[in-house]
Subunit: 340 residues, 2 copies
DNA sequence: GGGCGTGATGTTAACGTAAACATGGCTTCC
DNA sequence: GGAAGCCATGTTTACGTTAACATCACGCCC
């Protein structure tokens, strides 16, 4: 370990300036890469910084500049693939733009929970906020945030009040359903996600309208909770329906459970039954059989969130309403024409 | 640059003080819940705050107090279950302790990449850092961090230089291997993770020593990269080995791929072959068949990281060396005695 | 009844940085 | 040769908050 660099007392610009034999302002200029510092001086300052182990004090810097170069991300959980992939994309893209990410987890998905997060957030050093709001708030019809905070919302229906970025859920569900109809299946059964999820609601709605538009019967919905286990339970029910030859599960995990149920009941996939998922998890291609699914572009969602928020912060003309990120059908081994 | 005229509404304590007819110091006292403010005054100040939409400036506060109440988390990716679950636990526990989390993604796992992150981090508002270091640095034998930064490391071998928290990889691998031997299998084949991963290395080592301690032959290792796809490829090889009746895959995803390969080759699980994974993903119980695996307690890992770091920040006697979080075997449907 | 604690509130200064302005030496050009 | 300009660097000040100290009114006790 370098000895001279004990940083307990906080090395400041003044200290560096003293050692380098220049003024604090010159240290500031070097520190920020401003022009107009002669090379020899620059080197002296850099040496002094090195020697003292100087690191700029970001609090003072933020105080002076009036910005933190940090974005807050409010979310309920990182446990879902969608959220963690989106957050990763947000963090990566923000870093590229010179912004850091502060995570603000909300324990309970209620208006109070979110407001509590904002209160803490008010005391946090953030310039703007991205809210990843994948479920309906339990105690409020819509989301109301404190004024004076720049916001972008992911995956919500707050589009009239805040800029929203979302995967095009409806089009994805339509593609999935039409793919199965196109293979010749008379209709498509659906395993839906939890009622409080926006994404789940939209996928189910689009599945239904696609069937109706094609003049097909709409079978009863099986409700799951995104987990593979719930998909398994739904699959056991569907395996008992002799007329069921095609299933659209609202996510890949439930599709995994559905397929397990069919395996256990001796129904082959895709020989007897076809299955389509939604998400395109990294492992979906290794399911048994490899899963046909709808690919979501989480990286693009994250990128657009950051861009939208930064545009707001710079007072550039931002997009209003909802921005939809397209999905695409990935055909693998779990779908085929119906038996017979 | 953009015209500096447009700043945030910028309500400061002075503004609140003016409206409430008190001094800024009294506003500060109310803001921080300090005693010695009479109720009537307190109310006046709170009203003024409400009216003006005052939010404390955390930069000024941090500058004055010398702390940010924020912890940085340096990581390479959120895409692995382990990392995202650990980060979620860290964020939750930190929030409970009144700390926020700043994410610092590192694009490339090299010494330079990490140092780059620290440079950015030096300019970030953090009091300490948790490094989630699941792979060997590509260009340095071990991790060297700038001095003067409080650090806790997850999942690494830096134990002699920094406090480390990690899952007890070796004991988990031992449990997995002994479970299979205990069922009567003559030996256990292993699908390992990427060479640069610490966890992978340790699991493989413990698997090997467990076999050796039991006097069993050590079959050649199949190397994967954590992905289900790589597990599938390894599984195809193993399915060609008639003597292979038991497989320990270094994570659940690869176990998923291994099982798919066996299914495709007509080897039943657990009738012909037993499979054990590592991680206990939320979906592992819904694999076909439900996977016997080693459960990792990511929440506990996160909690201990935060506790350890906060102890350091408070200059309390911290633990040195490596703290191991125990694992436990979860027996499901993918393991049984060998055929015959 | 005067000295004196006590408790509420105000005043001052400082945290580390960077914008704005000031200085002073050196070149350039007529 | 001297005014003008320019460049490198220095000085001043303010950002919003809070610790430390200062003040002031009131009541209490001998």
């Amino acid at each position: 370990m370098t000895a001279g660099a004990r940083r307990r007392p906080g090395v400041s610009m003044a200290d560096v300036a003293r050692v380098a034999g220049v003024s604090a302002q010159t240290v500031s200029r070097v520190s920020n890469g401003h022009p107009g510092v002669v090379e020899a001086t620059r080197r002296q300052v850099l040496d002094a910084m090195q020697q003292l182990g100087y690191r700029p004090n970001s609090a003072a810097r933020a105080l002076k500049r009036g910005e933190f170069r940090t974005l807050g991300v409010i979310l309920f959980t990182l446990a879902t693939t969608g959220n963690s992939r989106t957050v990763e994309a947000i963090a990566g893209h923000a870093a590229r733009e010179g912004y850091a990410i502060t995570l603000i987890p909300v324990a309970v998905p209620t208006q109070d929970g979110v407001l509590g997060a904002f209160t803490r957030l008010g005391e946090l050093a953030v310039d703007g906020v991205i809210v990843i709001m994948e479920v309906h708030l339990l105690d409020a019809a819509d989301l109301t945030l404190p004024p004076g905070v720049q916001v972008v919302v992911v995956d919500s229906d707050a589009g009239e009040r805040y800029p929203v970025v979302d995967t095009d859920q409806a089009d994805g569900a339509r593609q999935a359903t039409e793919h199965l109809l196109g293979l010749g299946h008379p209709t498509v059964w659906h395993v839906t996600g939890p009622a409080e999820s926006f994404a789940s609601e939209r996928r189910a709605h689009a599945w239904r309208s696609t069937l109706e538009a094609a003049g097909r019967p709409v079978p009863p919905v099986q409700r799951g909770d995104w987990s593979a286990e719930s998909g398994y339970r739904a699959g056991l029910v569907l395996a008992g329906e002799p007329s069921c030859t095609a299933v659209f599960a609202a996510n890949d995990q439930m599709a995994l459970g559905v397929m397990r149920a069919f395996h256990e009941r001796g129904r082959t996939i895709p020989g007897n039954v076809s299955v389509v998922g939604f998400d395109d998890l990294p492992d979906s291609g290794a399911f048994f059989p490899p899963l046909t699914t709808i690919h979501q572009d989480f990286a693009e969602v994250g990128r657009r969130c950051v861009d939208g928020l930064l545009r707001q912060l710079r007072h550039e003309p931002g997009h209003a309403g909802t921005e939809l990120v397209p999905t695409r059908l990935v055909i693998r081994g779990s779908t085929a024409p119906p038996p017979g």
